[in-house]
């Protein structure tokens, strides 16, 4: 019987297997940031342990940084202390750090791939659940807690029970105006917010293959929103083309050797999965969420369901009450107060291009506050080189500096209580973008159209 892509990568990283189904799994690369690492450094120091492989760690501040005036000292005292603590820890332990102002700084899940740190066949972890993003390259990548951050720092290993495998195949051609974000919101709406728990997902099929690397990252990024530990896509020519020439990508003979190895990373014919789903690409339309978990998504032209398919009606009602919506109603015509374009899900150059392309020569609606936060300094630089900053500014969008920003509202970038925000981020939980904030998740295109129209519309009527 053949092996799955997941099996191949996992098996290549098992240091030893213990009784009770736990594997000691070797971790090739560890990304750290200011929020989930300080207690791990402290843990190591308390135990008198050193970093085991400091050269396999890369650090950057992203969650808790301002997205304005990054050249100035951070104003908020606690945030400043947290970012300073990361700097001090990295200096003390000699860990590579891309701090504020560094040309490589950005959201961990944006900079890993763009620097060529993320490679097919690698295992990668970070104290952040959206580490699943890196699976787009055929890596096993997943989020961990701070105790595990300390374990990887001390030993480059984790003790993991092997997840079950799931394959989600999407064949066919995507409809006009449908992007990677719509694909993943569609999948989660079908599987629910818990449907992937216990599984590692492989995304396959012609519609997935047709996606760019950045789009594949968007799909894998939100695997955690259906509870899956991670998602991955077999590497192909699109992957190799993206990696080639990047800062830390293999070069020369090493490159050829690497590509030969990467070409072996796919699910064999006949490999079996614990669960399989198939969806036709033609069924996917521009999506939006109406509730307070990412599984509560609908086609933008559809009505909110009358009730949830199974159980949980109290939670469904609680969710609608929080959002100020009624069961069964349409979202079309609902006025929107904020549009946020950013986060590790949708802040890459292709996302910014989609927005700029649509808003060029248009003006945002007066009732909308439109914020656009690039995923990294490199994305920001590229956007400026292409003149996207000017197009966005003329349309009334504020292009800010890189960070996680209003995706989780740790810094000043928050949505006020009661306000509606169409957001390209990944979570619509209660208060996620600020206490009382109401989040509707959507693609960059839907966000752009919403900003111009000032309300939710059927975007298909607005495309050429």
């Amino acid at each position: 019987m053949g092996k799955t892509l997941f099996d191949k990568v996992w098996d290549a990283h098992v240091v030893k297997s213990l009784e009770g189904g736990i594997d000691v799994l070797y971790i090739d690369r560890h990304l750290i940031h200011e929020v989930t690492s300080p207690q791990a450094f402290a843990e190591l120091e308390n135990r008198g342990l050193e970093l085991f492989r400091k050269d396999q760690i890369v650090a950057t501040p992203d969650h808790n940084v301002p997205t304005k005036d990054q050249h100035l000292p951070i104003q908020e005292a606690l945030s400043k202390h947290q970012v300073d603590t990361l700097l001090a820890n990295c200096e003390k332990h000699d860990v590579t750090l891309y701090g504020l102002g560094h040309p490589f700084q950005g959201i961990v899940h944006v900079i890993g791939p763009e620097l060529g740190i993320t490679l097919p066949g690698r295992t990668m972890v970070c104290g952040d659940s959206h580490t699943s993003t890196h699976g787009a390259f055929g890596a096993i990548a997943f989020g961990i807690g701070t105790s595990q951050v300390a374990q990887v720092m001390a030993t480059q290993c984790l003790m993991q029970s092997r997840p079950k495998t799931m394959r989600i195949t999407i064949d066919g051609e995507l409809n006009k105006g449908v992007y990677a974000k719509d694909i993943i919101l569609y999948i989660i709406s079908k599987l629910t917010a818990a449907g992937g728990t216990g599984y590692f997902v492989e995304y396959a099929g012609s519609a997935i293959r047709s996606l760019s690397m950045e789009a594949r990252m968007t799909v894998c990024n939100m695997s955690i929103e259906m509870g899956a530990r991670g998602g991955m896509i077999a590497p192909d020519e699109t992957t190799f083309e993206y990696i080639k020439g990047r800062e830390f990508a293999p070069k020369g003979d090493d490159w050829d050797k690497a590509v030969d190895y990467w070409k072996t990373l796919y699910s064999d014919e006949g490999a079996s999965f614990d669960k399989e789903y198939n969806f036709p690409a033609e069924d996917i339309e521009p999506m939006i969420t109406y509730g307070t978990n990412p599984g509560m998504g609908i086609k933008i032209t559809a009505n909110i369901p009358e009730k949830l398919g199974e159980g949980g009606q109290d939670s469904f009602q609680k969710s609608l009450k929080y959002m100020g919506f009624d069961a069964g109603e349409s979202l079309l015509g609902k006025p929107i107060d904020y549009v946020f374009i950013g986060s590790c899900t949708n802040s890459r150059i292709e996302d910014l291009r989609i927005v700029a392309d649509y808003v060029k020569g248009k003006k945002k609606a007066d009732n909308v506050n439109a914020m656009i936060v690039p995923g990294s300094k490199q994305v920001e630089k590229q956007a400026i080189a292409e003149g996207l900053d000017k197009i966005l500014a003329e349309a009334g969008f504020e292009l800010r500096e890189p960070g996680c920003s209003a995706c989780l509202g740790m810094n000043e970038d928050k949505v006020p209580a009661g306000a509606y925000c169409v957001s390209t981020s990944n979570r619509n939980f209660e208060g996620r973008q600020g206490p009382g904030a109401r989040t509707l998740l959507a693609s960059p295109l839907v966000a752009a159209v919403t900003a111009i129209e000032g309300k939710i519309v059927n975007i298909s009527e607005h495309l050429n």
């Binding site: 290549a12 990283h13 240091v15 213990l18 009770g20 189904g21 736990i22 000691v24 070797y26 929020v35 989930t36 300080p38 207690q39 402290a42 843990e43 135990r47 085991f52 969650h63 808790n64 606690l78 945030s79 202390h81 690698r122 104290g127 952040d128 659940s129 961990i144 807690g145 105790s147 595990q148 300390a150 374990q151 001390a154 030993t155 480059q156 290993c157 984790l158 003790m159 997840p163 917010a193 818990a194 728990t197 216990g198 955690i224 509870g227 530990r229 293999p250 190895y261 159980g311 949980g312 109290d314 939670s315 989780l408 740790m410 979570r427 939980f429 209660e430 208060g431 996620r432 206490p435």
Partner: protein
């Protein structure tokens, strides 16, 4: 990590599904660089209005219910990987969370901090919630060695990985074990063919 063997306690019922870690501890309270005091902000935005005025109808503000066991709806702990969620529950005084389904990362984080996730059937969960609501003084016994949860003569068993069980019973962490096999990790590195 503190040892865990058995907890006998009343419980706090929270019959809400899909409780994500942003509710357990909102992001704006993650700015601390140590592990202390997170219990003060546990369920912050469900617990308080206008900053620090307790919300009367929230269960943690209802003196009818107390105890070391939190009983919550299915898919508890979904969302962000923040271990601060486990720290805040533990710091507040919970030793056990009972649900019919846990999100993976939360479950791992809880086990790494001596907070026991007890997964029971949906039927048992509903029965437990109803019993606690009807009689808040109901005592619930969670016994790790026998992997059972019982109240009022009713009982259910729960799964816990055998290695993790040993860790909890003895107060060991993964890190202790991993450090002890460094030679094997180095041997793996020398033989690995991954690029």
């Amino acid at each position: 990590m503190e040892k865990f063997n058995k907890v006998v306690s009343t419980a706090v019922p929270m019959p809400i599904e899909d409780i994500d870690t942003d509710q357990i501890i909102p992001a704006r309270f993650l700015k601390a660089t140590n592990r202390d005091g997170f219990g003060d902000n546990l369920f912050r935005d469900w617990r308080y209005v206008k900053g620090d005025e307790p919300k009367k109808d929230f269960v943690l503000n209802d003196s009818t219910y107390s105890g070391e066991i939190l009983v919550a709806g299915r898919n508890f702990g979904c969302g962000s990987s923040r271990e601060h969620a486990a720290w805040s529950l533990y710091d507040y005084g919970f030793k056990v969370v009972v649900s019919s389904f846990f999100a993976d990362i939360f479950k791992g984080n809880a086990l790494n901090n001596g907070l026991l996730p007890v997964q029971v059937s949906e039927e048992f969960l509903q029965e437990l919630l109803a019993t606690v609501k009807a009689n808040p003084s109901t005592e619930i016994t969670v016994d790790l060695p026998s992997q059972t949860i019982s109240f009022d003569g009713k009982s259910d068993s729960f799964e816990v990985n055998s290695y993790k069980k040993e860790c909890l019973l003895n107060g060991y962490d993964d890190i202790d074990y991993l450090v002890s096999i460094k030679n094997e990790i180095e041997a793996y590195e020398a033989s690995s063919t991954v690029i």
